[in-house]
Protein backbone atom coordinates (compact mmCIF):
# COMPACT_ATOMS: atom_id res chain seq x y z
CA UNK A 1 0.00 0.00 0.00
CA UNK A 2 1.20 3.41 -0.91
CA UNK A 3 0.37 5.50 2.08
CA UNK A 4 0.74 2.79 4.69
CA UNK A 5 2.62 4.85 7.25
CA UNK A 6 0.35 7.89 6.90
CA UNK A 7 -2.76 5.72 7.22
CA UNK A 8 -1.30 4.00 10.25
CA UNK A 9 -0.48 7.29 11.95
CA UNK A 10 -3.91 8.67 11.08
CA UNK A 11 -5.57 5.62 12.60
CA UNK A 12 -3.58 5.97 15.80
CA UNK A 13 -4.30 9.70 16.08
CA UNK A 14 -8.03 9.27 15.46
CA UNK A 15 -8.18 6.32 17.84
CA UNK A 16 -6.36 8.22 20.53
CA UNK A 17 -8.74 11.13 20.01
CA UNK A 18 -11.76 8.86 20.42
CA UNK A 19 -10.28 7.24 23.52
CA UNK A 20 -9.58 10.69 24.91
CA UNK A 21 -13.21 11.69 24.29
CA UNK A 22 -14.46 8.56 26.05
CA UNK A 23 -12.22 9.30 29.01
CA UNK A 24 -13.32 12.92 29.15
CA UNK A 25 -17.08 12.36 28.99
CA UNK A 26 -18.13 8.77 29.30
CA UNK A 27 -16.05 7.79 32.29
CA UNK A 28 -17.59 10.62 34.29
CA UNK A 29 -21.03 9.16 33.59
CA UNK A 30 -19.88 5.72 34.68
CA UNK A 31 -18.40 7.07 37.90
CA UNK A 32 -21.18 9.60 38.51
CA UNK A 33 -23.29 7.40 40.79
CA UNK A 34 -20.28 6.67 42.98
CA UNK A 35 -19.25 10.29 43.29
CA UNK A 36 -22.82 11.49 43.76
CA UNK A 37 -23.50 9.07 46.60
CA UNK A 38 -20.67 10.71 48.50
CA UNK A 39 -18.92 7.38 49.06
CA UNK A 40 -15.78 8.49 47.26
CA UNK A 41 -14.28 11.90 46.64
CA UNK A 42 -13.59 13.17 43.14
CA UNK A 43 -9.89 12.67 43.63
CA UNK A 44 -10.45 9.04 44.64
CA UNK A 45 -12.82 8.59 41.70
CA UNK A 46 -10.16 9.85 39.30
CA UNK A 47 -7.55 7.48 40.74
CA UNK A 48 -9.93 4.49 40.74
CA UNK A 49 -11.07 5.28 37.20
CA UNK A 50 -7.52 5.69 35.92
CA UNK A 51 -6.36 2.36 37.35
CA UNK A 52 -9.43 0.25 36.63
CA UNK A 53 -10.40 1.73 33.27
CA UNK A 54 -6.93 0.87 32.12
CA UNK A 55 -7.06 -2.60 33.66
CA UNK A 56 -10.49 -3.25 32.14
CA UNK A 57 -9.41 -2.05 28.71
CA UNK A 58 -6.23 -4.08 28.83
CA UNK A 59 -7.46 -7.29 30.46
CA UNK A 60 -11.02 -7.61 29.20
CA UNK A 61 -11.31 -5.30 26.23
CA UNK A 62 -10.37 -7.88 23.62
CA UNK A 63 -13.75 -9.41 22.80
CA UNK A 64 -15.64 -6.23 22.01
CA UNK A 65 -12.67 -4.92 20.06
CA UNK A 66 -12.89 -8.05 17.93
CA UNK A 67 -16.57 -7.41 17.24
CA UNK A 68 -16.01 -3.80 16.20
CA UNK A 69 -12.98 -4.80 14.18
CA UNK A 70 -14.33 -7.72 12.21
CA UNK A 71 -17.74 -8.72 13.52
CA UNK A 72 -19.86 -6.10 11.81
CA UNK A 73 -18.33 -6.15 8.33
CA UNK A 74 -17.91 -9.18 6.11
CA UNK A 75 -14.26 -8.58 5.26
CA UNK A 76 -14.12 -11.45 2.74
CA UNK A 77 -15.88 -9.24 0.23
CA UNK A 78 -12.99 -6.80 0.53
CA UNK A 79 -10.07 -9.17 0.02
CA UNK A 80 -9.40 -7.59 -3.36
CA UNK A 81 -9.63 -4.01 -2.12
CA UNK A 82 -8.31 -3.91 1.47
CA UNK A 83 -7.77 -0.15 1.28
CA UNK A 84 -11.55 0.34 1.31
CA UNK A 85 -11.71 -1.20 4.76
CA UNK A 86 -8.88 1.07 5.93
CA UNK A 87 -10.64 4.19 4.63
CA UNK A 88 -13.90 3.03 6.08
CA UNK A 89 -12.53 2.43 9.54
CA UNK A 90 -10.74 5.78 9.50
CA UNK A 91 -13.95 7.45 8.36
CA UNK A 92 -15.91 5.73 11.12
CA UNK A 93 -13.45 6.90 13.77
CA UNK A 94 -13.46 10.45 12.48
CA UNK A 95 -17.25 10.54 12.19
CA UNK A 96 -17.76 9.18 15.67
CA UNK A 97 -15.17 11.52 17.19
CA UNK A 98 -16.67 14.63 15.60
CA UNK A 99 -20.27 13.64 16.30
CA UNK A 100 -19.46 13.03 19.95
CA UNK A 101 -17.70 16.37 20.20
CA UNK A 102 -20.69 18.19 18.70
CA UNK A 103 -23.25 16.25 20.72
CA UNK A 104 -21.54 16.64 24.07
CA UNK A 105 -21.19 20.38 23.40
CA UNK A 106 -24.95 20.53 22.85
CA UNK A 107 -25.63 18.33 25.86
CA UNK A 108 -27.25 15.47 23.95
CA UNK A 109 -27.09 12.08 25.62
CA UNK A 110 -25.42 10.25 22.77
CA UNK A 111 -23.53 7.03 23.21
CA UNK A 112 -20.03 6.40 21.91
CA UNK A 113 -20.98 2.82 21.17
CA UNK A 114 -24.03 3.67 19.11
CA UNK A 115 -22.10 6.26 17.14
CA UNK A 116 -19.26 3.98 16.17
CA UNK A 117 -21.55 1.07 15.28
CA UNK A 118 -23.75 3.40 13.22
CA UNK A 119 -20.68 4.78 11.46
CA UNK A 120 -19.25 1.37 10.58
CA UNK A 121 -22.59 0.04 9.36
CA UNK A 122 -23.09 3.26 7.38
CA UNK A 123 -19.86 3.24 5.42
CA UNK A 124 -20.07 -0.50 4.81
CA UNK A 125 -23.66 -0.49 3.58
CA UNK A 126 -23.30 2.54 1.32
CA UNK A 127 -19.60 2.57 0.47
CA UNK A 128 -19.21 -1.14 -0.15
CA UNK A 129 -22.61 -2.70 -0.46
CA UNK A 130 -25.50 -3.96 1.61
CA UNK A 131 -24.04 -7.47 1.55
CA UNK A 132 -20.89 -6.27 3.32
CA UNK A 133 -22.74 -5.90 6.61
CA UNK A 134 -23.32 -8.87 8.90
CA UNK A 135 -26.92 -7.88 9.51
CA UNK A 136 -27.47 -10.75 11.91
CA UNK A 137 -24.64 -9.57 14.12
CA UNK A 138 -25.81 -5.95 13.89
CA UNK A 139 -29.29 -7.13 14.85
CA UNK A 140 -28.00 -8.84 17.95
CA UNK A 141 -25.97 -5.75 18.88
CA UNK A 142 -29.06 -3.55 18.56
CA UNK A 143 -31.06 -6.04 20.61
CA UNK A 144 -28.40 -5.90 23.31
CA UNK A 145 -28.91 -2.12 23.53
CA UNK A 146 -32.49 -2.73 24.60
CA UNK A 147 -31.76 -5.75 26.75
CA UNK A 148 -28.80 -4.33 28.67
CA UNK A 149 -30.67 -1.51 30.47
CA UNK A 150 -33.56 -3.88 31.18
CA UNK A 151 -31.24 -6.55 32.57
CA UNK A 152 -29.33 -4.02 34.68
CA UNK A 153 -32.64 -2.68 35.98
CA UNK A 154 -33.81 -6.15 36.97
CA UNK A 155 -30.55 -6.96 38.74
CA UNK A 156 -30.46 -3.66 40.62
CA UNK A 157 -34.11 -4.06 41.64
CA UNK A 158 -33.45 -7.45 43.24
CA UNK A 159 -30.11 -6.39 44.69
CA UNK A 160 -31.78 -3.47 46.38
CA UNK A 161 -34.72 -5.55 47.53
CA UNK A 162 -32.24 -7.95 49.13
CA UNK A 163 -30.59 -5.00 50.89
CA UNK A 164 -33.99 -3.91 52.19
CA UNK A 165 -34.83 -7.39 53.43
CA UNK A 166 -31.46 -8.27 54.95
CA UNK A 167 -30.38 -4.90 56.33
CA UNK A 168 -32.55 -1.80 56.14
CA UNK A 169 -35.89 -3.22 57.26
CA UNK A 170 -34.53 -5.06 60.26
CA UNK A 171 -34.31 -4.11 63.92
CA UNK A 172 -30.53 -3.85 63.89
CA UNK A 173 -29.63 -2.43 60.50
CA UNK A 174 -26.09 -1.47 61.46
CA UNK A 175 -25.16 -4.93 62.76
CA UNK A 176 -26.76 -6.59 59.77
CA UNK A 177 -24.93 -4.23 57.42
CA UNK A 178 -21.64 -5.27 59.01
CA UNK A 179 -22.69 -8.89 58.63
CA UNK A 180 -23.96 -8.90 55.04
CA UNK A 181 -22.04 -6.14 53.23
CA UNK A 182 -18.86 -8.27 53.02
CA UNK A 183 -20.88 -10.79 50.97
CA UNK A 184 -21.82 -8.10 48.50
CA UNK A 185 -18.15 -7.17 48.31
CA UNK A 186 -17.32 -10.81 47.62
CA UNK A 187 -20.00 -10.92 44.93
CA UNK A 188 -18.54 -7.84 43.25
CA UNK A 189 -15.03 -9.25 43.15
CA UNK A 190 -16.22 -12.72 42.14
CA UNK A 191 -18.36 -11.64 39.17
CA UNK A 192 -15.82 -9.26 37.72
CA UNK A 193 -12.97 -11.71 38.17
CA UNK A 194 -14.96 -14.61 36.72
CA UNK A 195 -15.99 -12.87 33.51
CA UNK A 196 -12.48 -11.53 33.05
CA UNK A 197 -10.95 -14.96 33.59
CA UNK A 198 -13.34 -16.55 31.11
CA UNK A 199 -13.03 -14.10 28.30
CA UNK A 200 -10.24 -11.70 28.79
CA UNK A 201 -6.98 -13.32 29.53
CA UNK A 202 -6.28 -15.28 26.35
CA UNK A 203 -4.60 -12.40 24.60
CA UNK A 204 -2.07 -11.94 27.35
CA UNK A 205 -1.11 -15.56 27.04
CA UNK A 206 -3.04 -17.15 29.90
CA UNK A 207 -4.97 -20.30 29.09
CA UNK A 208 -7.13 -21.52 31.95
CA UNK A 209 -9.66 -24.28 32.51
CA UNK A 210 -13.20 -23.74 33.75
CA UNK A 211 -12.42 -25.03 37.22
CA UNK A 212 -9.34 -22.87 37.40
CA UNK A 213 -11.46 -19.89 36.39
CA UNK A 214 -14.02 -20.47 39.13
CA UNK A 215 -11.30 -21.20 41.64
CA UNK A 216 -9.36 -18.06 40.84
CA UNK A 217 -12.48 -15.89 40.83
CA UNK A 218 -13.49 -17.35 44.19
CA UNK A 219 -10.08 -16.63 45.68
CA UNK A 220 -10.02 -13.10 44.29
CA UNK A 221 -13.52 -12.53 45.68
CA UNK A 222 -12.39 -13.75 49.10
CA UNK A 223 -9.29 -11.58 49.12
CA UNK A 224 -11.33 -8.50 48.22
CA UNK A 225 -13.93 -9.43 50.82
CA UNK A 226 -11.32 -9.56 53.58
CA UNK A 227 -9.86 -6.23 52.55
CA UNK A 228 -13.37 -4.73 52.72
CA UNK A 229 -14.12 -6.43 56.02
CA UNK A 230 -11.05 -4.95 57.68
CA UNK A 231 -12.24 -1.48 56.66
CA UNK A 232 -15.78 -2.14 57.88
CA UNK A 233 -14.50 -3.37 61.25
CA UNK A 234 -12.73 -0.07 61.74
CA UNK A 235 -16.03 1.84 61.44
CA UNK A 236 -17.49 3.12 64.69
CA UNK A 237 -21.10 4.01 65.38
CA UNK A 238 -21.53 7.74 65.71
CA UNK A 239 -24.86 8.26 67.52
CA UNK A 240 -24.71 11.97 66.73
CA UNK A 241 -24.87 11.22 62.98
CA UNK A 242 -28.11 9.26 63.35
CA UNK A 243 -30.04 12.09 64.92
CA UNK A 244 -31.25 13.69 61.69
CA UNK A 245 -31.20 10.65 59.49
CA UNK A 246 -31.44 7.28 61.26
CA UNK A 247 -29.50 5.36 58.64
CA UNK A 248 -26.41 7.57 58.57
CA UNK A 249 -24.21 4.92 60.19
CA UNK A 250 -25.58 2.09 58.05
CA UNK A 251 -24.76 4.11 54.96
CA UNK A 252 -21.18 4.39 56.16
CA UNK A 253 -20.87 0.61 55.82
CA UNK A 254 -22.31 0.80 52.32
CA UNK A 255 -19.83 3.55 51.49
CA UNK A 256 -17.06 0.98 51.93
CA UNK A 257 -18.87 -1.36 49.54
CA UNK A 258 -19.36 1.48 47.08
CA UNK A 259 -15.60 1.89 46.71
CA UNK A 260 -15.41 -1.69 45.43
CA UNK A 261 -18.37 -1.37 43.08
CA UNK A 262 -16.89 1.87 41.74
CA UNK A 263 -13.75 -0.08 40.85
CA UNK A 264 -15.91 -2.75 39.19
CA UNK A 265 -17.77 -0.11 37.20
CA UNK A 266 -14.57 1.52 35.97
CA UNK A 267 -13.24 -1.90 35.02
CA UNK A 268 -16.44 -2.81 33.18
CA UNK A 269 -16.53 0.49 31.36
CA UNK A 270 -12.92 0.15 30.28
CA UNK A 271 -13.54 -3.37 29.04
CA UNK A 272 -16.47 -2.40 26.83
CA UNK A 273 -15.86 1.15 25.69
CA UNK A 274 -12.18 0.97 24.85
CA UNK A 275 -13.19 -1.09 21.84
CA UNK A 276 -15.08 1.85 20.35
CA UNK A 277 -11.81 3.69 20.01
CA UNK A 278 -9.36 0.94 19.22
CA UNK A 279 -11.48 -1.57 17.31
CA UNK A 280 -11.18 0.40 14.07
CA UNK A 281 -7.50 1.12 14.78
CA UNK A 282 -6.87 -2.58 15.18
CA UNK A 283 -8.57 -3.27 11.84
CA UNK A 284 -6.40 -0.70 10.06
CA UNK A 285 -3.21 -1.88 11.76
CA UNK A 286 -3.74 -5.52 10.88
CA UNK A 287 -4.33 -4.73 7.21
CA UNK A 288 -1.39 -2.35 6.92
CA UNK A 289 1.00 -4.63 8.79
CA UNK A 290 0.14 -7.66 6.72
CA UNK A 291 0.88 -5.63 3.61
CA UNK A 292 -2.64 -5.18 2.44
CA UNK A 293 -4.04 -8.56 3.30
CA UNK A 294 -7.22 -8.92 5.26
CA UNK A 295 -6.39 -11.57 7.78
CA UNK A 296 -9.39 -12.58 9.82
CA UNK A 297 -7.33 -14.63 12.19
CA UNK A 298 -4.70 -12.12 13.22
CA UNK A 299 -4.47 -11.53 16.94
CA UNK A 300 -5.01 -8.14 18.50
CA UNK A 301 -1.62 -6.50 19.16
CA UNK A 302 -1.33 -5.61 22.83
CA UNK A 303 0.09 -2.17 22.16
CA UNK A 304 -3.23 -1.14 20.64
CA UNK A 305 -5.07 -2.00 23.86
CA UNK A 306 -2.42 0.02 25.69
CA UNK A 307 -3.00 2.92 23.33
CA UNK A 308 -6.71 2.88 24.13
CA UNK A 309 -6.09 2.64 27.85
CA UNK A 310 -3.66 5.55 27.80
CA UNK A 311 -6.07 7.66 25.76
CA UNK A 312 -8.94 7.07 28.17
CA UNK A 313 -6.84 7.90 31.20
CA UNK A 314 -5.51 11.05 29.53
CA UNK A 315 -9.02 12.27 28.75
CA UNK A 316 -10.13 11.48 32.26
CA UNK A 317 -7.27 13.37 33.87
CA UNK A 318 -7.51 16.39 31.59
CA UNK A 319 -11.25 16.85 31.39
CA UNK A 320 -13.25 14.10 33.10
CA UNK A 321 -12.58 15.50 36.53
CA UNK A 322 -14.63 18.61 35.81
CA UNK A 323 -17.53 16.57 34.38
CA UNK A 324 -17.46 14.42 37.51
CA UNK A 325 -17.76 17.52 39.67
CA UNK A 326 -20.95 18.64 37.92
CA UNK A 327 -22.44 15.17 38.08
CA UNK A 328 -21.54 14.75 41.74
CA UNK A 329 -23.38 17.95 42.61
CA UNK A 330 -26.52 16.80 40.84
CA UNK A 331 -26.80 13.35 42.37
CA UNK A 332 -27.02 14.03 46.06
CA UNK A 333 -30.20 12.04 46.67
CA UNK A 334 -28.45 8.79 45.91
CA UNK A 335 -27.28 7.14 49.12
CA UNK A 336 -24.44 4.57 49.03
CA UNK A 337 -26.85 1.64 49.54
CA UNK A 338 -28.70 2.64 46.35
CA UNK A 339 -25.59 3.71 44.51
CA UNK A 340 -24.04 0.33 45.14
CA UNK A 341 -27.08 -1.59 43.88
CA UNK A 342 -27.23 0.46 40.69
CA UNK A 343 -23.48 0.42 40.07
CA UNK A 344 -22.99 -3.28 40.70
CA UNK A 345 -25.95 -4.18 38.49
CA UNK A 346 -24.64 -1.99 35.67
CA UNK A 347 -21.07 -3.24 36.05
CA UNK A 348 -22.21 -6.87 35.98
CA UNK A 349 -24.28 -6.31 32.86
CA UNK A 350 -21.51 -4.44 31.07
CA UNK A 351 -18.85 -7.00 31.96
CA UNK A 352 -21.15 -9.79 30.77
CA UNK A 353 -21.65 -7.95 27.48
CA UNK A 354 -17.90 -7.42 27.21
CA UNK A 355 -17.36 -11.12 27.68
CA UNK A 356 -19.86 -11.90 24.94
CA UNK A 357 -18.31 -9.33 22.67
CA UNK A 358 -21.36 -7.09 22.54
CA UNK A 359 -20.67 -3.36 22.36
CA UNK A 360 -23.29 -1.72 24.61
CA UNK A 361 -23.77 1.72 26.10
CA UNK A 362 -22.50 1.90 29.67
CA UNK A 363 -24.45 5.08 30.35
CA UNK A 364 -27.76 3.65 29.18
CA UNK A 365 -27.14 0.50 31.20
CA UNK A 366 -26.53 2.61 34.27
CA UNK A 367 -29.73 4.55 33.62
CA UNK A 368 -31.60 1.24 33.54
CA UNK A 369 -29.95 0.16 36.79
CA UNK A 370 -30.89 3.41 38.56
CA UNK A 371 -34.49 3.05 37.37
CA UNK A 372 -34.47 -0.46 38.85
CA UNK A 373 -33.66 0.96 42.28
CA UNK A 374 -36.39 3.55 41.71
CA UNK A 375 -38.86 0.72 41.04
CA UNK A 376 -38.07 -0.60 44.52
CA UNK A 377 -39.25 2.81 45.84
CA UNK A 378 -35.72 3.71 46.75
CA UNK A 379 -35.09 7.09 45.12
CA UNK A 380 -36.78 10.39 45.92
CA UNK A 381 -37.32 11.52 42.36
CA UNK A 382 -36.25 10.35 38.92
CA UNK A 383 -36.65 12.31 35.75
CA UNK A 384 -38.34 10.10 33.20
CA UNK A 385 -37.67 12.63 30.46
CA UNK A 386 -34.23 11.07 30.26
CA UNK A 387 -35.72 7.83 28.98
CA UNK A 388 -37.35 9.75 26.17
CA UNK A 389 -34.13 11.56 25.26
CA UNK A 390 -32.32 8.23 25.22
CA UNK A 391 -34.81 6.87 22.68
CA UNK A 392 -34.37 10.05 20.67
CA UNK A 393 -30.60 9.71 20.78
CA UNK A 394 -30.91 6.18 19.39
CA UNK A 395 -32.93 7.48 16.50
CA UNK A 396 -30.63 10.43 15.81
CA UNK A 397 -27.19 9.00 16.57
CA UNK A 398 -27.24 5.97 14.28
CA UNK A 399 -28.03 7.87 11.06
CA UNK A 400 -25.84 10.81 12.08
CA UNK A 401 -22.83 8.56 12.59
CA UNK A 402 -23.63 6.69 9.38
CA UNK A 403 -24.02 9.77 7.18
CA UNK A 404 -20.83 11.37 8.44
CA UNK A 405 -18.89 8.14 8.01
CA UNK A 406 -20.14 7.85 4.44
CA UNK A 407 -19.00 11.41 3.69
CA UNK A 408 -15.56 10.86 5.19
CA UNK A 409 -15.27 7.51 3.47
CA UNK A 410 -15.68 9.00 0.02
CA UNK A 411 -13.44 11.92 0.92
CA UNK A 412 -10.62 9.62 2.02
CA UNK A 413 -11.17 7.43 -0.99
CA UNK A 414 -10.82 10.49 -3.21
CA UNK A 415 -7.70 11.70 -1.40
CA UNK A 416 -5.75 8.45 -1.27
CA UNK A 417 -7.21 6.85 -4.33
CA UNK A 418 -9.29 3.74 -4.47
Amino acid sequence: MEYAIILLILACVFGLFMAWGIGANDVANAMGTSVGSGAITIKQAVIIAAVFEFAGAFLAGGQVTKTIRKGIIDADLLSGTPELLVYGMLAALLAAGIWLLVASRLGWPVSTTHTIVGAIVGFAAVGIGMDAVHWGKVGSIVMSWVISPALAGTISYWLFRSVQGLILNTDTPFDNAKKYVPFYIFLTGFIIALVTMFKGLKHIGLETTIIQNYGMAFIIGLIIMFIGKSYINKLKIDPEADRDFHFANVEKVFAVLMVFTACAMAFAHGSNDVANAIGPVAAVVSIVQSGGEITQKSALPIWILLLGGVGIVAGLLMYGRRVMETIGKNITELTPSRGFAATLAAATTVVLASGTGLPISTTHTLVGAVLGVGMARGIGALNLNVVRTIFLSWIITLPAGAIMAILFFFTLKGMFGG
Binding site: N29, N169, N330, H364, R377, L382, N383, V386
Partner: protein
Protein backbone atom coordinates in the same frame (compact mmCIF):
# COMPACT_ATOMS: atom_id res chain seq x y z
CA UNK B 1 -21.07 22.42 30.94
CA UNK B 2 -24.24 20.74 29.89
CA UNK B 3 -25.80 18.24 32.25
CA UNK B 4 -24.87 14.68 31.44
CA UNK B 5 -27.32 11.82 31.01
CA UNK B 6 -26.74 10.44 34.48
CA UNK B 7 -27.04 13.72 36.30
CA UNK B 8 -30.18 14.76 34.46
CA UNK B 9 -31.75 11.44 35.44
CA UNK B 10 -32.01 12.60 39.03
CA UNK B 11 -34.82 15.00 39.78
CA UNK B 12 -35.13 17.08 42.90
CA UNK B 13 -36.53 14.89 45.62
CA UNK B 14 -39.72 16.36 47.10
CA UNK B 15 -38.98 14.92 50.56
CA UNK B 16 -36.77 17.67 51.98
CA UNK B 17 -38.90 20.54 50.61
CA UNK B 18 -42.04 18.90 52.02
CA UNK B 19 -40.38 18.64 55.43
CA UNK B 20 -39.16 22.21 55.17
CA UNK B 21 -42.71 23.34 54.41
CA UNK B 22 -44.10 21.50 57.44
CA UNK B 23 -41.38 23.03 59.62
CA UNK B 24 -42.34 26.46 58.34
CA UNK B 25 -46.04 25.76 59.01
CA UNK B 26 -45.24 24.68 62.55
CA UNK B 27 -43.11 27.78 63.09
CA UNK B 28 -46.16 29.81 62.11
CA UNK B 29 -48.74 28.13 64.35
CA UNK B 30 -46.63 28.00 67.53
CA UNK B 31 -46.77 31.80 67.47
CA UNK B 32 -50.46 31.45 68.33
CA UNK B 33 -49.52 30.75 71.98
CA UNK B 34 -47.85 34.13 72.67
CA UNK B 35 -50.59 35.71 70.55
CA UNK B 36 -53.38 34.32 72.74
CA UNK B 37 -51.44 35.21 75.88
CA UNK B 38 -51.28 38.81 74.72
CA UNK B 39 -54.97 38.83 73.76
CA UNK B 40 -56.04 37.42 77.13
CA UNK B 41 -53.97 40.07 78.89
CA UNK B 42 -55.72 42.69 76.75
CA UNK B 43 -52.31 43.74 75.42
CA UNK B 44 -53.55 44.59 71.94
CA UNK B 45 -50.33 46.24 70.86
CA UNK B 46 -48.20 43.14 71.21
CA UNK B 47 -51.10 40.97 70.01
CA UNK B 48 -51.15 43.00 66.83
CA UNK B 49 -47.37 42.59 66.43
CA UNK B 50 -47.77 38.89 67.01
CA UNK B 51 -50.54 38.64 64.43
CA UNK B 52 -48.29 40.36 61.87
CA UNK B 53 -45.58 37.85 62.63
CA UNK B 54 -47.99 34.94 62.11
CA UNK B 55 -49.15 36.39 58.83
CA UNK B 56 -45.55 36.82 57.69
CA UNK B 57 -44.67 33.24 58.60
CA UNK B 58 -47.75 32.01 56.75
CA UNK B 59 -46.57 33.84 53.66
CA UNK B 60 -43.18 32.16 53.97
CA UNK B 61 -44.86 28.75 54.10
CA UNK B 62 -46.95 29.70 51.09
CA UNK B 63 -43.84 30.46 49.11
CA UNK B 64 -42.32 27.08 49.99
CA UNK B 65 -45.55 25.44 48.90
CA UNK B 66 -45.49 27.15 45.50
CA UNK B 67 -41.80 26.33 45.00
CA UNK B 68 -42.41 22.65 45.70
CA UNK B 69 -45.40 22.52 43.37
CA UNK B 70 -43.29 24.05 40.62
CA UNK B 71 -40.60 21.40 40.93
CA UNK B 72 -42.98 18.45 40.67
CA UNK B 73 -43.53 17.95 36.96
CA UNK B 74 -45.59 14.99 35.83
CA UNK B 75 -42.54 13.34 34.27
CA UNK B 76 -41.09 12.77 37.73
CA UNK B 77 -40.92 9.17 38.88
CA UNK B 78 -41.29 9.04 42.65
CA UNK B 79 -41.69 6.30 45.25
CA UNK B 80 -45.00 7.89 46.23
CA UNK B 81 -47.95 9.01 44.18
CA UNK B 82 -47.66 12.59 43.04
CA UNK B 83 -51.30 13.29 43.82
CA UNK B 84 -51.07 12.00 47.39
CA UNK B 85 -47.92 14.01 47.92
CA UNK B 86 -49.56 17.20 46.72
CA UNK B 87 -52.50 16.51 49.02
CA UNK B 88 -50.19 16.21 52.03
CA UNK B 89 -48.73 19.54 50.99
CA UNK B 90 -52.17 21.14 50.69
CA UNK B 91 -53.19 19.85 54.13
CA UNK B 92 -49.99 21.16 55.69
CA UNK B 93 -50.62 24.51 54.13
CA UNK B 94 -54.18 24.65 55.42
CA UNK B 95 -52.83 24.43 58.99
CA UNK B 96 -50.84 27.63 58.53
CA UNK B 97 -53.80 29.28 56.77
CA UNK B 98 -56.08 28.41 59.67
CA UNK B 99 -53.58 29.80 62.15
CA UNK B 100 -53.41 33.06 60.23
CA UNK B 101 -57.23 33.22 59.99
CA UNK B 102 -57.64 32.75 63.74
CA UNK B 103 -55.22 35.56 64.55
CA UNK B 104 -56.70 37.78 61.84
CA UNK B 105 -60.27 37.31 63.05
CA UNK B 106 -59.43 38.05 66.67
CA UNK B 107 -57.47 41.20 65.78
CA UNK B 108 -60.02 42.35 63.21
CA UNK B 109 -62.95 42.15 65.62
CA UNK B 110 -60.96 42.80 68.79
CA UNK B 111 -62.56 39.72 70.28
CA UNK B 112 -62.33 39.60 74.05
CA UNK B 113 -62.67 36.33 75.87
CA UNK B 114 -64.83 36.05 78.99
CA UNK B 115 -63.02 34.65 81.99
CA UNK B 116 -64.96 31.39 82.02
CA UNK B 117 -63.56 30.59 78.57
CA UNK B 118 -60.12 32.13 78.78
CA UNK B 119 -58.69 29.87 81.47
CA UNK B 120 -59.17 26.83 79.23
CA UNK B 121 -58.19 28.60 76.04
CA UNK B 122 -54.37 28.47 76.26
CA UNK B 123 -54.49 24.76 77.05
CA UNK B 124 -56.80 24.22 74.07
CA UNK B 125 -54.48 26.10 71.70
CA UNK B 126 -51.41 24.32 73.01
CA UNK B 127 -53.01 20.94 72.50
CA UNK B 128 -53.99 21.82 68.94
CA UNK B 129 -50.40 22.90 68.28
CA UNK B 130 -49.17 19.63 69.78
CA UNK B 131 -51.20 17.90 67.06
CA UNK B 132 -49.41 19.77 64.29
CA UNK B 133 -46.08 19.13 66.03
CA UNK B 134 -46.88 15.43 65.98
CA UNK B 135 -47.79 15.68 62.29
CA UNK B 136 -44.39 17.26 61.73
CA UNK B 137 -42.65 14.42 63.57
CA UNK B 138 -44.35 11.94 61.25
CA UNK B 139 -43.50 13.95 58.13
CA UNK B 140 -39.88 14.06 59.28
CA UNK B 141 -39.75 10.28 58.93
CA UNK B 142 -40.30 10.52 55.18
CA UNK B 143 -36.61 10.36 54.28
CA UNK B 144 -36.21 7.25 56.40
CA UNK B 145 -39.25 5.82 54.63
CA UNK B 146 -37.61 6.38 51.26
CA UNK B 147 -34.42 4.83 52.61
CA UNK B 148 -36.23 1.63 53.57
CA UNK B 149 -38.29 1.59 50.40
CA UNK B 150 -41.48 2.09 52.42
CA UNK B 151 -41.30 -1.18 54.23
CA UNK B 152 -40.86 -2.98 57.51
CA UNK B 153 -40.03 -1.36 60.79
CA UNK B 154 -40.09 2.19 59.54
CA UNK B 155 -43.69 1.92 58.33
CA UNK B 156 -44.73 0.56 61.71
CA UNK B 157 -42.95 3.45 63.42
CA UNK B 158 -44.76 6.02 61.30
CA UNK B 159 -48.07 4.25 61.84
CA UNK B 160 -47.60 4.45 65.60
CA UNK B 161 -46.81 8.16 65.22
CA UNK B 162 -50.05 8.66 63.30
CA UNK B 163 -51.92 6.77 66.00
CA UNK B 164 -50.47 9.14 68.58
CA UNK B 165 -51.56 12.05 66.39
CA UNK B 166 -55.12 10.69 66.36
CA UNK B 167 -55.03 10.46 70.16
CA UNK B 168 -53.93 14.09 70.46
CA UNK B 169 -56.69 15.16 68.10
CA UNK B 170 -59.40 13.40 70.06
CA UNK B 171 -57.92 15.03 73.16
CA UNK B 172 -58.44 18.47 71.62
CA UNK B 173 -61.99 17.45 70.79
CA UNK B 174 -62.61 16.80 74.48
CA UNK B 175 -61.13 20.15 75.48
CA UNK B 176 -63.23 21.82 72.78
CA UNK B 177 -66.40 20.36 74.29
CA UNK B 178 -65.42 21.75 77.69
CA UNK B 179 -64.73 25.23 76.28
CA UNK B 180 -68.03 25.21 74.41
CA UNK B 181 -69.92 24.11 77.51
CA UNK B 182 -68.31 26.92 79.51
CA UNK B 183 -69.30 29.41 76.83
CA UNK B 184 -72.82 27.99 76.57
CA UNK B 185 -73.40 28.60 80.26
CA UNK B 186 -72.68 32.32 79.99
CA UNK B 187 -73.74 33.06 76.42
CA UNK B 188 -77.02 34.73 77.41
CA UNK B 189 -75.10 37.41 79.31
CA UNK B 190 -72.96 38.35 76.33
CA UNK B 191 -73.75 40.31 73.16
CA UNK B 192 -75.01 37.75 70.58
CA UNK B 193 -72.58 38.86 67.87
CA UNK B 194 -69.63 38.37 70.19
CA UNK B 195 -70.91 34.93 71.13
CA UNK B 196 -71.17 34.02 67.48
CA UNK B 197 -67.57 34.90 66.84
CA UNK B 198 -66.36 33.24 70.03
CA UNK B 199 -67.87 30.00 68.81
CA UNK B 200 -66.20 30.51 65.48
CA UNK B 201 -62.74 30.97 67.06
CA UNK B 202 -63.25 27.84 69.16
CA UNK B 203 -64.31 26.02 66.01
CA UNK B 204 -61.23 27.09 64.14
CA UNK B 205 -58.82 26.11 66.91
CA UNK B 206 -60.43 22.67 66.81
CA UNK B 207 -59.97 22.60 63.05
CA UNK B 208 -56.28 23.26 63.54
CA UNK B 209 -55.94 19.85 65.19
CA UNK B 210 -58.32 18.34 62.68
CA UNK B 211 -56.14 19.46 59.76
CA UNK B 212 -53.03 18.07 61.45
CA UNK B 213 -54.79 14.75 61.77
CA UNK B 214 -55.59 14.88 58.08
CA UNK B 215 -51.90 15.43 57.29
CA UNK B 216 -51.35 12.17 59.15
CA UNK B 217 -54.02 10.27 57.25
CA UNK B 218 -52.73 11.57 53.90
CA UNK B 219 -49.28 10.38 54.94
CA UNK B 220 -50.78 6.98 55.64
CA UNK B 221 -52.06 6.91 52.07
CA UNK B 222 -48.50 7.54 50.89
CA UNK B 223 -47.34 4.44 52.75
CA UNK B 224 -49.82 2.20 50.98
CA UNK B 225 -48.70 0.89 47.65
Amino acid sequence: MARTTISSLFGNSPVKPLQAHMASVQECVVELVPFFEAVLENDWKSAKAQQKKISKLENAADKLKRDLRMQLPRSLFMPVSRRDLLEVLTMQDKIANKGKDIAGLIIGRKIEFPEAVSDKLIDFVQRAIAASAQAQTAINELDELVETGFGGREVKLVQSMIKELDAIESDTDKIEVKVRTALFKIEDDLPPVQVMFLYRVIDWIGELADLSQRVGSRLELLLAR
